[in-house]
Amino acid sequence: MSLAADIHSTRGLRIRGVGKTYRIEGRPLPVLQNIHLDIAPGEFIGIVGASGCGKSTLLRLITGLEADYEGEIVLGGDPIGGPSRERGIVFQDHRLFPWLTVEDNIALGLDGLAAAEIRERIAENIELVGLQGFEKAYPHQLSGGMAQRAAIARALAMRPDILVLDEPLGALDSLTRVRLQNELFRIWRQSRMTMVMVTHDVEEAVYLSDRVVVMESRPGRIKTTIPVHLDHPRQRTSEAFVTLRRTVYESLQY
């Protein structure tokens, strides 16, 4: 499929010695400390950790929504600057612009391209996320799961090198969540996109990730990284899966 050939990531992300400190009323509040992480192109990284471990902050640093950090974040050899279309993000609240249709939302970051190219990208991403027929719908007409898929399409339409997902399925009910997890896996496979996903749901992380990064809080640090060497599609009830899940849970305890 031409899709895979065009979209897939080629550059890896290198995070070295990254730390971030906020100043609240003159006193320093360290949020992240000494984060080391190497992410290969096409990898799926799941990040889990209790609230306050800075995982969202890490994502925001990667996307450039926040700056002012120690250490370095390098994408394929180039240190990152501010926000860029090379690094996309999907938020927990889909943040589709309510006044634009699904296809207009997807095309939001595509100015500068020829009209034909824009149409093509819209079409291929609509197909990728499975929203055929809903191009002209408005966000308020979509269910939570559909809206989130549209948000993913919007991010992928720009053909980023890396897609960061900040608890993308957190606002959905559990049935929808499982369904979207399967969808997300399929999208990842088809696009061969590098994905870094923060989640509260340990099972979700084990289901999707190549590696699960466990973070601890105050200040946010990487406690351990657990590789998931299971073949896809993974069986949530298989012994290996359950064991891995337990391993992750246990490392989350103190």
């Binding site: 926000p83 938020f91 006044w99 100015d111 308020h140």
Partner: protein
Amino acid sequence: MTDITIDAGVKTPRHGKGRLWRGAVLPVALLAAWAVVPRLLPTPHPLLVPLDEVLAAPFIDESGREIWASLAQTLLRYAGGFALGASAGLALGLLVGASALADRLVSPSFNAVRQIALFAWIPLLTAWFGNGEASKIVFIALSAFFPVALNTHDGLRTIAKGYMEVAAVLKLSPRRRVLKLLLPGALPSILIGLQIGLITAWLGTVGGEYMIGIGRGLGIFIAEARGQFRMDLVLLGVIFLALIGFLANLGFRRLSEPLIQWQGTKP
């Protein structure tokens, strides 16, 4: 399940016909009384003019017929003044909403000046511009200006931060940011501002005419009718005052609803 109401025991018709009939009782009774009671008096009281005479005045009465020309003048002023004030309000609101610096510089003064009750401007305006068209138009513009500017500014300022982050991550150019995010995002508020502005400008139109008292218009018509003790013409004028305000509001709502249909039906 009992509800806490005074007439919990009375069977209240839930929808439609029953309630409509009830609502009509008082107005119909009042109108009927208005038509009949003045005629029951031994000698006609100048202030108690029967309803039908009031309604017939613009067609039959010589002074009453003046109202049409006055209305035309007033409506022209209304349109002109409103256009002027609303554009100025939009411009300022957009500027102050989009630029934090402009906001810091202008907003405090704007809010202070806004505190001055609108009609308090009239003596100053007439001192500056005389009693002619200019004062009236400026006053109407002023009446529209404040609500439009305020709500436009609000609309821009309260665009959810989440959307601004999306715009940042998607690297939207300033032009696209304005066209695809700021303007549509602020539109509901802007429309509210225009709706309020329409009403205040209408009150400013007729009120301004009434106070300044010179020239031709609905407000002046009412003022002159009052001077001549013509209660019927005063009532006629007030009816038109209320009616046109109501229609303007209704018309605007009908026209602006399609623009924000993307909001969907709120629960």
